[in-house]
């Protein structure tokens, strides 16, 4: 079923549409939420609120052609609000920048090349070097598979800013990974 139709059924008060939306997107919501906070309870509370509000306000919901985008935007806003509240309680001097932490899984085998421990550390370092916002765009683009428009809406950035964040992140990544890239190209010459 298309997102537009499923969304319409939700707006019409069809409870099974709510359940279908939940079961389709809960995994990506939990995973995305985890990048902002290691505290699973906080994220679960936000998601619970999100779905309850979705149901309560269903009649007044706007149209959407991407339910995933709608949910990610809503969750992100909720998490930010939660974190801001929590931070204010702890101290006012804490930085308010949104945390976005990813754990990089380095494949021992990047393309044809077996990576040494040293090279694996290099890849990991390359990702750590990215800013939080760069990590988030990279996550949404390469893991969630979203397009620039959707990412822009989720992160409240315009199209060009998203593009810039992505290509700067890639350039940075390329710089750090240059030795590895050269190695791959070198091997290529030998093999072919």
């Amino acid at each position: 079923m298309s997102d537009i139709l499923l969304w319409k059924q939700l707006k019409d008060g069809n409870k099974s549409a709510l359940e279908q939306i939940y079961s389709t997107y809960i995994s990506s919501l939990l995973k995305y939420g985890r990048k902002f906070s290691r505290n699973d309870q906080v994220i679960e509370d936000c998601i619970q609120d999100l779905f309850i509000e979705l149901w309560k306000n269903r009649a007044g919901l706007g149209m959407t052609d991407s339910i995933q985008r709608y949910l990610l935007v809503a969750l992100r806003r909720k998490v930010i609000r939660q974190m801001d509240k929590a931070k204010k309680r702890v101290s006012d001097t804490e930085p308010t920048e949104l945390d976005f932490e990813v754990v990089i899984a380095v494949d021992q085998k990047l393309i044809e090349v077996e990576l040494s421990a040293e090279r694996a550390a290099q890849v990991k370092a390359a990702m750590v070097n990215l800013s939080k916002r760069q990590k988030e765009v990279i996550y949404l683009k390469y893991v969630s598979g979203l397009d620039y428009e959707d990412i822009g809406e989720i992160m409240d950035l315009n199209y060009q800013s998203v593009r810039n964040l992505v290509s700067n992140a890639l350039k940075k990544l390329k710089g750090t990974l240059l030795p590895l890239v050269l190695l791959v190209l070198e091997l290529d010459k030998i093999i072919f």
């Binding site: 319409k8 707006k11 019409d12 008060g13 409870k15 709510l18 359940e19 939940y22 079961s23 809960i26 995994s27 939990l30 995973k31 985890r34 679960e44 998601i47 619970q48 779905f51 309850i52 149901w55 309560k56 009649a59 706007g62 149209m63 990813v102 754990v103 990089i104 899984a105 380095v106 494949d107 990047l110 393309i111 890849v123 390359a126 990702m127 990279i138 996550y139 683009k141 390469y142 893991v143 598979g145 397009d147 593009r163 992505v166 290509s167 890639l170 350039k171 990544l173 390329k174 990974l177 590895l180 890239v181 791959v184 190209l185 290529d188």
Partner: protein, 333 residues
């Protein structure tokens, strides 16, 4: 499509969605395409290899949430979101009727339909006109209890006195009818006639077109000496040169009558026609550059929130808009 990639560098490739799906092995079509493309463009080998390293480097460790966790979270949400039979639509219709009564005094006479007035109307047989102005949609009950939902900037008229024998309603604009069983019920439009027995159907006469979509029962449409019989889920409209009705086709009735539930689906049309509909629905004036007006798209918008509606259509057009009271300006981005 294929050609544009020849100017790509490694960063461009690493950003290209179908390239990413190829490297991630997610999409058979992308795999087939890129395997072939790489073979045909050996000069791009180094850029492709580098882009592959970049995309492959972006692997993020994630644990799948457990079934139990997903289930228990749903149970909490489920308990807090009671399913109920929505009566919203009914309530909305009721308020629409009340609104129309306030708007035009004489509608209240017909709506009240009390016996004395019916007798009065039977004697003098005046014509009753009900119209929904710009930015107004309303529900109206005909003397035989048939229901009419009028879209913005639409008018119906009928003779109360004759309604018992001949149920004839004149329509300009767009309306959805739910007809009580009984004698023939006719909707006369400037472009043709719709005749029914007990059914519900949508009649749209916007932009010099006659378009009829049948929701339940059976409808007979006559225009330009051609006739089509519609049953549940079928539609017909005038052909391109407006010389006869087209053969019947399966219609998405929920979309056709989406305007009653808050969403106007316009179908594939030039943006200029969408502008006219936006102006009707919101009672506004739209100023729009010509370059955008001719763009054909599958336009739809929420018809009770101007800002959201403009967001939707301008997003699709990649255009910008500015609201200034009742004036809206749409420009290319």
């Amino acid at each position: 499509m294929e050609k544009k990639y020849t100017n790509y560098d490694e960063i461009d490739f690493a950003e290209e969605p179908s390239f990413i799906r190829w490297v991630q092995g997610k999409d058979q079509k992308a795999i087939a395409f890129w395997t072939k493309w790489v073979g045909n463009n050996p000069q791009k080998k180094a850029a492709i290899k580098t882009a592959k390293v970049l995309v492959n480097a972006i692997k993020i460790k994630e644990d799948e949430p457990s079934e139990a966790r997903i289930k228990s979270l749903w149970d909490k949400i489920d308990a807090a979101t009671p399913a109920e039979k929505p009566q919203l639509k009914q309530a909305k219709q009721a308020t629409a009727v009340v609104r129309s009564i306030g708007r035009r005094r004489w509608i209240s006479y017909a709506a009240a339909a009390c016996i004395g007035l019916v007798a009065f109307f039977t004697l003098y047989s005046p014509t009753t006109t009900v119209d929904a102005g710009n930015g107004e949609r309303l529900a109206y009950t005909l003397p035989d209890n048939s229901k009419v939902n009028l879209n913005a900037t639409s008018t119906i008229s009928f003779k109360v006195g004759d309604f018992d024998g001949d149920r004839i309603v004149n329509l300009e604009g767009e309306a959805f009818f739910e007809v009580e069983k009984g004698e023939a019920f006719k909707v006369i439009t400037p472009y043709g006639m719709v005749e029914v027995l007990g059914t519900s159907f949508n009649v749209n006469t916007r932009n010099g077109q006659l378009k009829v979509d049948c929701k339940t029962g059976k409808v007979k449409v006559t225009a330009k000496k051609s006739t089509q019989i519609l049953t549940k889920g079928l539609g017909t409209k005038l052909n391109a040169d407006k010389s006869a009705l087209e053969a019947t086709y399966e219609t998405n009735i929920e979309q056709q009558i989406g305007w009653m539930n808050g969403v106007s689906f316009l179908g594939k049309i030039p943006f200029s026609q969408a502008i006219t509909e936006l102006e009707r629905q919101f009672d506004i004036q739209i100023d729009c550059v010509n370059a955008i007006q001719s763009r054909i798209g599958d336009y739809s918008f929420k018809n009770n929130d101007l800002k959201l509606a403009l967001d939707e259509v301008t997003y699709q057009l990649n255009a910008a808009y500015k609201i200034d009271g009742k004036k809206v300006t749409i420009t290319a981005k």
